[in-house]
Symmetry: C2
Subunit: 350 residues, 2 copies
C-alpha cells in the first residue's frame, strides 16, 4: 500500500473535497456510462446532470457526489491512493442513480433537483430499463476491477438492503397512523438504515476494501456509513417539516402536507402525551390536508417531542459514527476528511 | 471433477430432463426467494407460479425452466455433478424472472402464462421493485457460491446484453417500416441474440464454469447458447404469426395484429419482390388493423419469403449450435441431453 497521493497541507473545505473526489472519479464514470446503449446512456447522463433531454451538454446539479467521495476516502483511509477506490465510487454512484430512477417511478415524483424526473421525460418503461442498465453496469464495472469480484459481495448485500428498505417505505404508506398495525419509530429507523445507510456504508467499506483494508476495518466502516445514513435521514426528516424552503427547495411542512410517515411524526405519535393523541386524531381525520391543518400538525409533532426525538436520534447515530471512526486505524489525511464529509452530510442546514 | 451423479441408463425425454433439473435446483431457488422481503417474495413466488395473489400455494405454470436446466447440464457437461451448477441455475432463473417482470411493464402486457402479470396485480411501482429485488438476489446468490465471484463477470456481461437488446426492441417499435430508418433484419437478429440469446448462453456457460470447465469450453458454450436463443426467437416469431392458437395460447396472426416488427416481417420487407412493396403499403396505411388486413399482411409476409427466411435463419443458428457442441469436449450424458434440450427449445411446435 502506498500513501495517499493528494495529501493537502491544509485541510480543504468539504465542497473542495467533493470536487477533488469528483475529479478523480469522473473519467471512469464517464467511460462506464459511455458503454451503455446510447439511448439508455442519454437517460443516465440526464440523471447525472451532464446533458439535457436530447443529449445537448449542460451542467445541471447531478447531486453532491457524497457516495463517490466516501469510496475514494475509504480507499485513502486504507492507506491506498484514492484512485484504488474509483471502481467502488463508480459502482455506488451508478447504483444510487439506478435507485433514484426507480424510486421516482414508485413514488410518482415529477421532479428531482429542480428538473423533470426521467420517467416524466422519457416514459415509465424507458426509465425502468435505464435503471436496470445502471444496475447491471455497476456490477459489471466492479467485477472487472482489481479486487472487484470479492467487492461484489459488499455491493450485492447493500443492494438487497436498499431494495428491502424501499419495500418497507412503500408499505409504511399503506399502514394506519395508530393501533397495533401502526409504524413504530424503530421500524422506521431500520428502514432508513437499509434504504439510505446501506449504500453509504457500502461506498465507504467498498472503497476501503479495494484500497486493501483488513476485513475488520471494512466491516467497521460499513457500520459507520450505516449510522451516517440513519443520521442523515433523521435530519432530512426534520428539514422535510421545518426546513427553510429557500434552502431545501421544498415547500414548508412539505412532508406533513403529503402525510408522509417520517420519524418525527412517528416518534410524536408514540409519545405518552396529550399532543400525541390530538396529532393522531388530526392525521386520521378525513379530507385533503389544508394549510391550517398541516400547520397545526407540525405544531403538534413538535409539542409531542417528535422534532427533539429525531434530532436526538441523529445525534446518537452521529456519535456512533465518531466512535466507529475512532476505533479503526485510518491512514493519512483520509480520516480527517472522512469526519468532515460525514459531519457535513448529516449536519447540513441545521 | 467427479462424474455426473445422475447418469440415466437410457436417455430421458426432455420433459423428464426438465423435471430432473428443476428438482435439483428447486430447494436452492426456494431458499433464495425466501430471503427476500416477504412482500417482494410473494410477488416473486407468484411469478414463479408457486402461489396465488395473497400467498396461497398453487401450482401454476411458471415456465419450463429451460435456463436452470441449461445451467445444470452445463455443469454436467464439464464433468461435474449437476449440483455444481445450482448457483448458476438460481441466478439465471432469478434474472430471467426479473426481466419478465420489467418487460411486462415496458410492453404493457396484462397477462403472461395465462395469469395476470405482476404489475397488473400488484401495481407498477411494486413490480419494478420486485424485479430489482430479484436482480440483486441473483448477484448475491451467485457471488456467495464457490467460484461465484468469477462467474459474476459472465452474469453481468449477459445482463448488459439483455438490457441493451430490450432497449433496441423498444426503439424498433418507434421506427418506420420503410426508408433509411427502417429496422434491418440483421439489426433484429442482433437484438434477439442479446435479448434472448445472452441469458441462455450465460446459463450454459456459467453452469459449465462453476463445474470447472476450461475457459475455452466456457466461451464456446456461451456462443452455443446465443445461437440457440437466436434460433428460438426466429421460431417464436414464426409461431407469433402462424402458430396454432390452441398450442401457443395466443391469437392467430397475433404479432401482426399488434404490428410487431418481427423477423419474418422485416425479412419480407427487405426482399426485392412486389409482395414486399404491397406489404409495406399495407403496414404503412393508417387506421387500426382489422381482421382482413391482418390476414392479408400474413399472406404477403409469406409470399415475400419472410416465413422461409425466418426458418432458414433458425436452421442456420441451430446448425451453429450443433457445430459448437461438436467442437468442445462434453462429459458423460450431459452432451446428449444438452443437444436434446436445445433441439426441443428451438423446434417446439414446428
Amino acid at each position: 500500500m502506498t500513501p495517499p497521493t493528494s495529501a493537502a497541507p491544509t485541510a480543504p473545505s468539504v465542497p473542495q473535497l467533493l470536487d477533488r473526489c469528483r475529479d478523480v472519479v469522473r473519467p471512469a464514470l464517464t467511460e462506464a456510462v459511455g458503454r451503455l446503449h446510447p439511448w439508455l446512456g442519454e437517460m443516465a447522463a440526464y440523471s447525472f446532470g451532464w446533458c439535457e433531454v436530447g443529449g445537448a451538454p449542460v451542467v445541471a446539479s447531478g447531486g453532491k457526489g457524497v457516495r463517490q467521495a466516501l469510496a475514494v476516502l475509504g480507499a485513502e483511509a486504507a492507506g491506498a491512493p484514492g484512485r484504488s477506490g474509483v471502481a467502488a465510487a463508480v459502482a455506488v454512484e451508478l447504483v444510487h442513480t439506478f435507485s433514484l430512477l426507480h424510486d421516482d417511478i414508485m413514488d410518482g415524483d415529477p421532479t428531482r433537483r429542480r428538473r423533470a424526473t426521467v420517467w416524466k421525460v422519457y416514459g415509465t418503461g424507458p426509465a425502468v430499463l435505464a435503471g436496470d442498465a445502471l444496475f447491471a453496469l455497476a456490477v459489471e464495472t466492479l467485477v472487472q476491477a482489481p479486487g472487484g469480484p470479492a467487492g461484489v459481495r459488499l455491493l450485492s448485500a447493500a443492494l438487497a438492503d436498499v431494495v428491502s428498505g424501499q419495500a418497507d417505505d412503500l408499505l409504511f404508506a399503506t399502514r394506519p397512523w395508530t393501533g397495533p398495525e401502526r409504524v413504530r419509530p424503530e421500524e422506521y429507523r431500520t428502514m432508513a438504515e437499509r434504504k439510505t445507510g446501506a449504500l453509504l456504508g457500502c461506498a465507504l467499506s467498498l472503497g476501503a476494501a479495494l484500497g486493501g483494508a483488513p476485513p475488520a476495518t471494512v466491516a467497521a466502516l460499513e457500520r459507520v456509513g450505516r449510522h451516517a445514513g440513519t443520521a442523515f435521514q433523521m435530519v432530512d426528516d426534520v428539514l422535510g417539516i421545518w426546513g427553510d424552503p429557500a434552502v431545501t427547495g421544498k415547500p414548508v411542512h412539505g412532508d406533513l402536507r403529503e402525510r408522509k410517515k417520517t420519524y418525527p411524526v412517528l416518534a410524536a405519535l408514540d409519545a405518552p402525551v396529550p399532543a400525541a393523541r390530538r396529532l393522531a386524531a388530526l392525521l386520521e381525520s378525513a379530507g385533503a390536508p389544508d394549510e391550517a391543518s398541516t400547520r397545526r400538525a407540525a405544531a403538534l409533532v413538535e409539542e409531542a417531542g417528535g422534532r427533539t426525538a429525531a434530532l436526538a436520534e441523529a445525534r446518537r447515530h452521529l456519535a456512533a459514527v465518531e466512535r466507529g471512526l475512532d476505533a479503526v486505524p485510518l491512514a493519512g489525511p483520509g480520516g480527517g476528511e472522512l469526519r468532515a464529509l460525514l459531519g457535513f452530510l448529516v449536519r447540513r442546514d441545521l
